[in-house]
Symmetry: D2
Subunit: 353 residues, 4 copies
């Protein structure tokens, strides 16, 4: 922090304020100019509030923040190197990172029954996906809406995992469920609505499974990185950041605004890998292919795409889901862009019936 | 829901679509016009997705929502009557409701130590407040920031309660803490960041204490009411809705945008009582008096105002806190407006030393 | 501006950068500390871009803005005193200012015909309004919508002015119309959509009539004040700032979000008088009374309220208009708040038939 | 529009309301069901307000909009075909359209002097651009900032056009300048701040030059298309829609949020060609390459990129400008994506010294 004192501040006041800063654990370095005195504060100011420091004296003209509030997630923390989040799956380890092929995650919003989840898993595997997504516990705006099949859905995910060889990503809504979910899931998802559920973040940070942290609907980049910082500070370095659309003033067509500029922004700020979810990001399946292609061109490390065998009858989020057939086509289109940027390894794989 | 079929839709297709609606548990009422056929869907469409229904047939021109998604919180549910949330405090029952005097809640962001919380409680009681607010468990953007003193702070709140006779309102961040907090608190607060933490809402709905539900930073009115619906659906009818500022494009001066129009809007939609928090709503103590007065004039049932004995040294949210002396003055100013609208009963009360 | 140089910056580089600043017309004051060197830039930095200055050297750690970008509109420019915008009307001079009674402006969105505008004028005058609003030239989203009756409506406004004794406020959409509008209007309105139509602002600033400057739908406070600065810099000091609702993420109930916190915010930043328009600010007549009352309690200097004799058949903006009868009632309710804050002088006046 | 009457509405009231609709020029088609009666309104409802129609009777339960408000810009208006905006330049006709190669527009924010604009033109031409952008009249937030060199800059643009063979795109801020600008410019730009300056739109629509219509900072898709509709309704069918970033809640890193989903959204709604401006869309040159690549992958028809020979000393918008050398590299990177989607024709061209 930089504290600018007003012109004419008495030396005694500068000394008094400096003492106040010391009592807050900061070492003020006094820089005396011809007109003004400036205090550079050395110490842990990450969580200090500039407005609050300003209240310490009427002679303070302004307090300006210089440092970023996050540490472990910052690119500098790893000396500029990208981190690699390596996830073991039945088909081998898969790496999410800036210098690896793009990882595609696909599957339905909710796990509805064994047949649909197993078939979907096999279809998306065949098209090149490495992970199956599917909700067992679903955050729903209405208490009367389908809330997911819960634990019984976890067994179905396990069946789909075995049948397809895909890794599993599913959401944790309640810290009490972490253990049971972690038995099946290879990556634990923290949803957008829980991005600042700090109790959950602490518990997720205290366990070992890699974490997919979705951006809150109106979270700033700094808040999102600080949420990830909670997990890293808890001891778990394996966090993937997933942009899924922010809330803006127009939701007539695309339900959310997919903020693809986070890709170059995050790249410069953090070492963590980046995922883009164009399905939630737009809310409409017809916009998904273009935005998935855009995400690849912009440099994403991963994509999450909703696929459902019968979107019109999906128990949740049908309008944003692709059918397996359409997903096959889209993966073909994405391969063109993925190959152009030398980050495509999602070759269609025949799956035995 | 109203489903408009395209001009020229074959009768067989109308029948097929009708059958599809029946399979979703909806009874379609067919309304045949000269050019178009319209289907009125009777049944529980609260959580259905208009886009998704549209996918059922290429012949559907549009699907239009008519009903509100919430029930128990709706004004109609109580036949137009306002509900009364009655909270017992050491000084007697206090009622939050449209037809009662405005209830003032005051206190610091965090409980820091016994002396500060007891003194603050006595001061705000003397000025006319009926409840003490104070955080034991604090949601903080940074994992390195002061997170509240936790359970030990609950004991301090109990001491302040005893010393002042005020009711206690404090935040629950983790469902695991509900019981211990409920031993001291008279109202359990769900914070803005947890407004859509549905696991927490369900557990809060399953217990008896009245609940203060803060609006999420970018929650729509409907989402906010649906979050309250979770609590009512869980069996707890005692919910107070608290507006605390929404996130918009300009935070240079006021940190958030206090959306006072929620007062007339909520009044027409719900029977639940309304609280306004101008402290978080603006983030700056100098804007608090004007916005508190505005809230009263607009018809709020309650106010939550941050008061701290030494804002410049507060462990959290100092810049938005009033000193006890300033709070005394502000209460005097608010009384003028409160009396003008016949809803003021917060007379200063001498407190014995 | 404060320029913070990185630790270890060579003296020669500090000198080079200082020279660059001088070439931009700024005098850098060097402040040398133990670890870091800071440059304080003296001069006109109002329009300089911190990011751009940062590009001058790889050794610059950060550039921090201290000064506000506006001058003539700032409260300091008038040594802390509120300005008075005095407008002559057929019934005498009316003053818009912090230390004067609240001025009420009322009338229809559009001037539709002589009878409706004259009758409306007489009714709102009788209820206590000092100015008639009414659009001759209307900004409409659709080119196919009623665009206002244009010049012929100006004659009708003149008739209403004569019949009622009210001052006239109407919008200028095209600089080419300024002269003809100024023959009738006592205050020229710049609409929200033209708040950053800088060509228009310059021409409005170059003429004498007082100006009502509406805030743009997504204009920051600083942008709004800079738009006013254009007018003052052009030579016209008589500007009234009108908040009319900003665009946020939820328009299901209130069409816009009325940002009442601008009242205390603007009060601290500028000497210019403040108007609140709860009609456009909410878009729905049933929310207008509560928000008008709130604006008075928060300290507004003026109110603009839409009144139409038959809102259901209004040619524009009917849903947000009050009927004359409802306006009478509302003025009675507002008088209670206005009297409580000692700023009400809008006594109902009998108008001769 | 669909008007839903409440259960139990008397027939006489349905008839009365129907008569009211007829008086508004709408033909109501009555559709009588078992419980409810619905009126389908046939006629020009593009600019009618659902809320306002609802006020016609207490028996109206809801009014639902079915139709889009725009006509000439809609994809249906051209039977699903994309339109082609053909612009003549000294180097031949250039076509902006969905089925043509991507057109690159490049150049500085402002025209500063002859040498810089001519050299920039030659450099961007050599790298593959087809148009030079450069402001003569500049919209600036501050009245004290550089406002562009005005007419004298037009002469410099003419010189750059002759020297490079590029077409010219420059902004019109004042309708009074249209003629003089049209002597040099091949495409007239309407800036974001003037997107709803309807007077300007009408005059731009009444002349022949193709128009680049930038999206307003908080304009919805519908408002943007309606602004284009003004131009087409005026007689000028040659409009290119340019997304340049919208205003959201976080501007810490990217200044605006580039809304790339407009590409698939607009494609389905309108026949008009689409341009993306990643320079204004992010405000920072380091984010431009990724977002330009993303725009191509998502299907844009055109790109606008700021290039300045010395960004650190640019008179405006330096931080978002690429140097000519960096632009050369970026064009090479974009060619990879452009070729992958078969829409690249911007081959580097040697320019004679």
């Amino acid at each position: 922090m930089i504290v600018v004192m007003k012109v004419g501040t008495p030396t005694a006041e500068v000394d008094r304020v400096s003492e106040e800063f010391r009592s807050l654990g900061l070492e003020p370095e006094k820089i005396v100019g011809k007109h003004k005195t400036v205090l550079g504060l050395v110490g842990d100011t990450a969580d200090m509030d500039a407005l609050q420091l300003q209240d310490l004296s009427q002679w303070i003209e302004s307090v300006l923040r210089v440092e970023k509030p996050y540490k472990r997630v910052s690119r500098e923390y790893r000396h500029g190197e990208a981190s690699e989040v390596v996830v073991s799956t039945p088909s081998g380890a898969v790496t999410f990172s800036q210098h690896h092929p793009i990882v595609v995650v696909a599957g339905p919003c909710s796990v509805e029954n064994e047949q649909m989840i197993v078939e979907t898993a096999q279809r998306v595997k065949a098209a090149g996906a490495k992970f199956l997504r599917g909700g067992a516990f679903k955050p729903r705006t209405s208490p009367y809406a389908f809330q997911g099949h819960g634990e019984s859905a976890l067994a179905l995910l396990a069946a789909a995992k075995e049948a397809s060889g895909l890794g599993i990503i599913t959401e944790v809504m309640d810290a009490a469920d972490i253990d049971v979910i972690a038995e099946v899931a290879d990556v634990l998802q923290v949803g957008a609505r829980n991005m600042q559920n700090f109790s959950l973040l602490k518990k997720i940070g205290a366990q070992d499974k890699p974490v997919l942290l979705k951006r809150g609907m109106s979270a700033t980049i700094d808040e999102w990185l600080m949420a990830a910082e909670y997990i890293l500070a808890g001891g778990n370095p394996n966090v993937i950041l997933c942009e899924r659309g922010i809330r803006t003033f127009d939701s007539s067509y695309a339900r959310n605004t997919l903020d693809l500029a986070v890709i170059p922004v995050l790249r410069s700020l953090t070492h963590l890998p980046i995922m883009i979810d164009p399905s939630h990001g737009t809310g409409k399946s017809e916009y998904v292919p273009a935005m998935a292609a855009a995400a690849i061109a912009a440099g994403t490390d991963s994509l999450m795409i909703e696929v459902h065998p019968n979107p019109a009858k999906a128990m949740s989020d049908g309008p944003q889901s692709l059918t397996p057939d359409r997903f096959d086509q889209v993966m073909g289109e994405l391969a063109v862009i993925g190959n152009a940027v030398n980050r495509w390894d999602a070759k269609p794989v025949p799956v035995l019936a």
